[in-house]
């Protein structure tokens, strides 16, 4: 069997391991059913295998390590959606997929089906090291320095059933990128890693620690500038060991590593990590070039061949078809190979539910990946899908194929590309529904010409202060609050997760749900009326400050 492009190929030993994990989980379910395990004991065990109990049903979150799937795996997800859920799946901001209507008794069967295609739900929840996320353009983007996926796979393996770090104070999220343009929100993770080439050919890693959103949004601080590859695992062990020993366990809202880093300061944290490293047997933890090479050899590299006129063909097609041209402008990114291009497929249709895809769409995406991108699919942390290696002269055919299943929306990075948490439609924690307001905003700004005119503008919506919709990091953020049974939304502006990470600033008192869309429209009008030259929303906001936007948002007619 040929190796998959973009992700690690399992062998028999990896598959045996997955089967053992399923058998273990099945035993845990049985012990819960016969009463040997209490619900309090079972809950963390089922969460560590991705199984939540939501408002109306169980939800199973399936891991998509570093966001990469092959078409065979994606087809399987579509089949599971059809057979065990309500014919759709929901892609998440951690590059995973959630099935929202699962029966507990079906779970072992679903896990077995997933294992047939080397997939699982390990550590997609729980107070452990979660699924590692990576740059959605990894191995493809022209601006990339190091393809981070081999090291993302190393981190996936290292963190899998880690004996010391499976009962941490709280969940622990790691993201890795190899581009100077941060597309993983590195500074909003417990650990954010930026790889770059080192002098000896092996990469070196810049490590941020203690970032996060949630109730207490904090921008991660640099712990080390240049960790050598051989010390990557030792360094991560030391960082997590300090956290496991000293992170707070008395209050779950103060248990993340960011609280510990803030409490003692990043210098003291660095000293503590260095003290661990000084005592550790570094040879034992050494990541050898041989181990890296062995894992790298389990990844296939796409053979990028394109006709010499591929670029010219695309240019001509764009001239001939302005609607296609608009999609190319918003939904593609420069590939490292001049004959290829990166295509982002929006899962944000106007008026639709951000991140949802039907099983028919999922199946079609798998077919299109086979036809146009070496069978490789990437899920983005902004809840979209990427085909990473599309020949330029075939891009229009791909776009036509996408249009047939309603996936040709031209809004990536624009106001319609909304990130939203599941909210009160699914989640027991939520105070407000995130999906309906996302749908209303999507419908309000449905006109793709208007979206292109507005330009780069991200809206993030969270249904409660746990901030799963990352509202703090949205250029415009919405936080749902409950006021005596009524849904209100608090607006923030100026957040960003990319380079120059910033936390959005609250504009003022929360607005009733039915006034929120109009208020955002006034914010946008304020920007359009006052922008200069090629300014984006964030540029104008930076130049003018918040006041004009606050006035616009609260202006009453």
């Amino acid at each position: 069997m040929s190796l998959p492009v973009g992700h690690y190929q399992y062998d028999r030993i990896d598959r045996d391991f997955l089967q053992a994990r399923i058998a273990e989980f099945e035993g845990q379910v049985n012990r819960r059913l016969d009463g040997t395990l209490s619900e309090d004991e079972f809950k963390p065990l089922r969460l560590m295998n991705g199984l939540y109990l939501q408002l109306h049903a169980y939800m199973l979150r399936v891991a998509i390590p570093y966001g990469i799937l092959d078409s065979r795996q994606l087809r399987k997800l579509g089949e599971i959606a059809r057979r065990y859920d309500r014919d759709y799946g929901h892609f998440t901001t951690r590059q995973n997929i959630q099935f929202n209507w699962i029966r507990l008794e079906d779970t072992p069967a679903i896990l077995r089906e997933l294992a047939e295609v080397d997939m699982h739900a390990i550590q997609t929840s729980g107070n452990c090291i979660r699924n590692v996320t990576a740059d959605e353009y990894a191995g493809a983007a022209a601006d990339e320095l190091v393809d981070p996926r081999v090291h993302a796979e190393i981190l996936r393996q290292w963190s899998t059933l880690h004996p010391e770090f499976t009962f941490l104070p709280r969940k622990f999220k790691i993201a890795i990128s190899g581009s100077p343009n941060d597309r993983v929100a590195a500074r909003f993770h417990d650990i954010g890693i930026l790889a770059r080439p080192g002098e000896d050919g092996a990469p070196v890693f810049r490590i941020f620690v203690g970032g996060g959103l949630g109730r207490t949004p904090i921008i991660g601080e640099e712990l080390f500038d240049s960790v050598r590859e051989e010390h990557l695992l030792a360094t991560l062990e030391a960082i997590v060991r300090v956290y496991n020993a000293h992170g707070r366990r008395d209050n779950i809202y103060k248990a993340r590593i960011k609280i510990l880093v803030q409490a003692i300061g990043v210098e003291a944290y660095r000293e503590a990590v260095e003290a661990e490293l000084a005592q550790m047997d570094l040879e034992r933890y050494r990541l050898t070039p041989e181990a890296v090479a062995a894992i790298r050899s389990r990844f296939a590299v796409p053979l990028l061949e394109a006709p010499s006129d591929a670029d010219a063909v695309l240019a001509e097609q764009r001239r001939a078809d302005p609607i296609f041209d608009r999609w190319v402008r918003s939904n593609t990114h420069v590939h490292r190979d001049p004959g290829h291009i990166i295509a982002t497929i929006s899962l944000k249709p106007a008026g639709g539910i951000p991140g949802d895809a039907t099983s028919a769409q999922i199946g079609r995406l798998a077919d299109l990946a086979d036809a146009y991108s070496f069978g490789e699919i990437r899920i983005t942390h902004l809840q979209n899908v990427v085909l990473g290696h599309v020949r330029k002269d075939r891009l229009r055919d791909l776009w036509l194929g996408l249009a047939e299943v309603g996936l040709a929306e031209a809004n990536i990075g624009l106001i319609g590309d909304i990130v939203a948490c599941p909210g009160l439609d699914y989640c027991a924690l939520a105070n407000a529904r995130s999906i309906p307001i996302a749908q209303k905003l999507g419908a309000r700004f449905a006109d793709t010409a208007l979206q292109a005119e507005i330009g780069a503008l991200r809206i993030n919506i969270s249904g409660c202060i746990n901030a799963c919709g990352h509202h703090h990091a949205g250029h415009i953020g919405l936080l749902g609050v409950d006021k005596r049974g009524e849904e209100f939304f608090q607006l923030t502006v100026g957040g960003r997760a990319e380079n120059g990470a910033a936390i959005g600033m609250i504009l003022g008192a929360a607005l009733p749900e039915d006034e929120t869309v109009d208020a955002i429209a006034r914010l946008v009008d304020c920007y359009l009326g006052r922008r200069e030259g090629g300014e984006t929303f964030l540029d104008t906001l930076t130049r003018l400050g918040h006041e004009p936007f606050r006035e616009a948002a609260y202006e009453t007619v």
Binding site: D11, I13, D16, F17, A20, R21, A23, E24, G27, Q28, R31, G35, T36, L37, E41, P44, L45, N127, I154, Q157, W158, S159, T160, L161, H162, P163, E164, F165, T166, F167, L168, L233, R241, N244, A245, R249, Q279, M280, D281, R284, Y285, A291, A294, I295, S297, R298
Partner: protein, 148 residues
Amino acid sequence: MKLFELGERTAQVHDVLVTVAELADRDDARAVLLESADDPALVKPYLNRLELVVLRFPIFRDGRGFTQARELREYLRFSGEIRAEGHILPDQAAFLRRCGVDSVVLPKNGNGDPALWEKQLRQFPVAYQRSVLPEWSVGPGLRVEEAS
């Protein structure tokens, strides 16, 4: 008290078990109890006479004991017995063993069935990271299995 051995070392019963604070005044003590908040480095001056360190888990979700065990083995080179007691689950058997714990005090409820602990120790044929145990590679990459 029923003991279960996670590995080769035979669990020993000690009549005198003291806290870290009491260690200095009790020359006869060969066994010490560490609470999950205690720093294992505190036992360093007494390592040559200690035969047993007991790690108490207040609740199975409190994973500090795993780090304490590793610090005892890796940093302090403690070569005596390490035991876990308190609220622990058989699902943690291999994790405890891989962090250097030799024995457990079996819980007095359904979680104390030795068959469950035995089964869990054999659940996974390989691991994806090094532990304190002697192991060899079953590559490619990071995978190891216990050297037998």
